[in-house]
């Protein structure tokens, strides 16, 4: 087990992790500027999960939040969520769930479930359920309707996470497919990124269409909630 994990941590992986963290932060900031209804701050983490396996993905996630904490201290307590995002992304990739666009939706969904579950105890224990995120508006609403804190936070997570994580998984998939095969082959798990059927341009186009649809859906949901 330990030897197998060690194999995923080649020099390429060690050099990739800082770049992936920078990608998380860069894209995360752009999304904030554009006021999109998603976070997209773990694309790099998922990307590492795909080409270098679950443990490299998990490490990227945990470090990413810790370092992001330097500018935005509020993100610090959430590192376990990022850890599990990377881990589950890597597990999905190893199981072949990053090989064509509809499997990627499934991966995104699984990552979303994980994120919702892991973030719940942190939110409840540290913040009494109300965090600094905009989605707490939904939690507050559910709390007012008489739901318990735990179920209110969890339901909010299940409602909000899939849009973000499916988009994230799709974009990570698009980036990996856009890289030259020669480069992908240098990473520990190039087989995780091999497209199963059809050529990869079609896959990229479909994935981008899915991204647009999901984000548009996010807009609609947000506007409905904002009333």
């Amino acid at each position: 087990m330990f030897e197998k994990i060690k194999k995923d941590f080649t020099t390429m992986t060690w050099v990739l992790i800082p770049v992936a963290i920078a990608i998380n932060i860069a894209i995360g900031q752009i999304v904030v500027l554009l006021k999109l209804p998603v976070f997209l701050d773990s694309i790099g983490t998922v990307l590492v999960g795909i080409v270098a396996g679950p443990w490299a993905g998990a490490l990227t996630g945990a470090l990413s939040n810790t370092i992001w904490g330097l500018f935005n201290p509020d993100s610090l307590p959430w590192w376990p969520v990022a850890f599990f995002i990377g881990l589950v992304a890597g597990l999905c990739a190893n199981a072949g769930l990053f090989k064509n666009w509809w499997k990627v939706i499934l991966s995104g969904f699984l990552i979303a479930l994980t994120a919702a579950i892991v973030s719940t105890p942190i939110s409840v224990y540290l913040y009494g359920g109300i965090t600094a995120s905009g989605s707490s508006f939904i939690t507050a609403y559910l709390l007012q309707t008489g739901q318990g804190v735990l179920s209110a936070v969890l339901s909010t997570g299940f409602l909000v996470e899939p849009v973000d994580k499916i988009t994230t998984a799709m974009l990570a998939f698009v980036i990996v497919q856009g890289l030259s095969k020669r480069l992908v082959a240098r990473f520990p798990r190039p087989e995780n990124a091999e497209v199963e059927s059809g050529n990869n341009t079609t896959q990229i186009i479909i994935a981008l269409v899915v991204v647009v649809v999901v984000v548009a859906l996010g807009f609609v949901v947000r506007n409905m909630l904002a009333g």
């Binding site: 095969k181 020669r182 082959a185 240098r186």
Partner: protein
């Protein structure tokens, strides 16, 4: 026996159809300074990676023939051991900054820390190497704050400090001004005279002719010709194959056609040109 021994080496990167190196035979003696010239895509960088052990250990792919440095067969060694004998510095200075260090001094010590050099020995070695390449004044600067030429000096120093037996350099002066280039060539020459073997890819013909012992011309992954610098760099074969030549050579060649250059040998350097054109 030669210090570097490439025997019939043919290499293909993974997922490619044509070999990047084809039947390369090359022998280099200890302490020799060999320059490699050739157009882009000739296989110069691949040859550097082969000598430095990255082909095939890092890049994978198919290799045939034998690569031997200091009597060790590359296929029987591993990359982490290989780099103790062979140092590599390449063109893009920015990508050679480790990123793990805050000052130039720490950056240069990085290789020594990795290879377990004791602390007492480390400081004097770093100081000595920085003096050699004339960057002692940059010791406390951040490597990222330097100009491209200064970063290239840091990259070269970071390798020199590890005292490799073979120094492989892939266009290490591309971003330096003429004065810097001359100085760095001087340093490399000095290393070679001290017994370090040097293989260097370079476009600057005038400096090669001034400093190298031998020139190897590569084209399409094959050795086109090799020999004394003046002999190779003034050859018609280079012009026919789209190699760059020094302005002194091309001008003298034209002058020769018009009867204005009387000597048999064409010049590569300024001094040779002055000598030949003097009435």
């Amino acid at each position: 026996m030669a210090f570097i021994n490439l025997n019939n080496v043919t290499y293909k990167y993974p997922l490619t159809k044509t070999p990047a190196l084809q039947n390369i035979n090359l022998q280099v003696n200890e302490g020799e300074f060999v320059a490699i010239v050739g157009p882009n895509g000739a296989g110069k960088s691949t040859l550097c990676y082969t000598l430095a052990g990255f082909v095939p250990h890092f890049f994978k792919g198919e290799i045939s023939g034998t690569v031997e440095v200091a009597g060790i067969d590359s296929s029987k060694s591993t990359l982490d051991k290989w780099v103790l004998n062979v140092g590599l510095a390449f063109q893009n200075p920015f990508n050679q900054i480790s990123g793990a260090k805050y000052t130039v001094f720490e950056e240069i010590a990085f290789g020594l820390e990795n290879t377990g050099v004791p602390r007492d020995e480390m400081k004097p070695r770093v100081e000595e190497a920085m003096k050699l390449t004339d960057i002692s004044n940059l010791a406390d600067r951040s490597p990222y704050s330097l100009s491209g030429g200064q970063q290239q000096r840091v990259a070269l120093t970071s390798i020199l400090v590890m005292r490799p037996k073979l120094l492989v350099l892939d266009e290490p002066t591309s971003q330096m001004d003429p004065i810097g280039t001359r100085e760095v060539f001087g340093v490399i020459r000095k290393m070679a005279e001290g017994g370090m073997t040097v293989v260097m890819v370079e476009h600057k013909m005038e400096w090669i002719a001034n400093f190298a012992d031998r020139v190897v011309a590569l084209k399409d992954g094959q050795v086109l010709m090799e020999g004394k610098p003046n002999e190779v760099l003034t050859s018609e074969l280079l012009v026919e194959n789209g190699f760059g030549v020094s302005r002194y050579t091309s001008t003298a060649r034209e002058a020769k056609k018009q009867g204005l250059w009387k000597k048999e040998k064409l010049p590569v350097t300024l001094d040779e040109a002055v000598e030949g054109f003097k009435k």
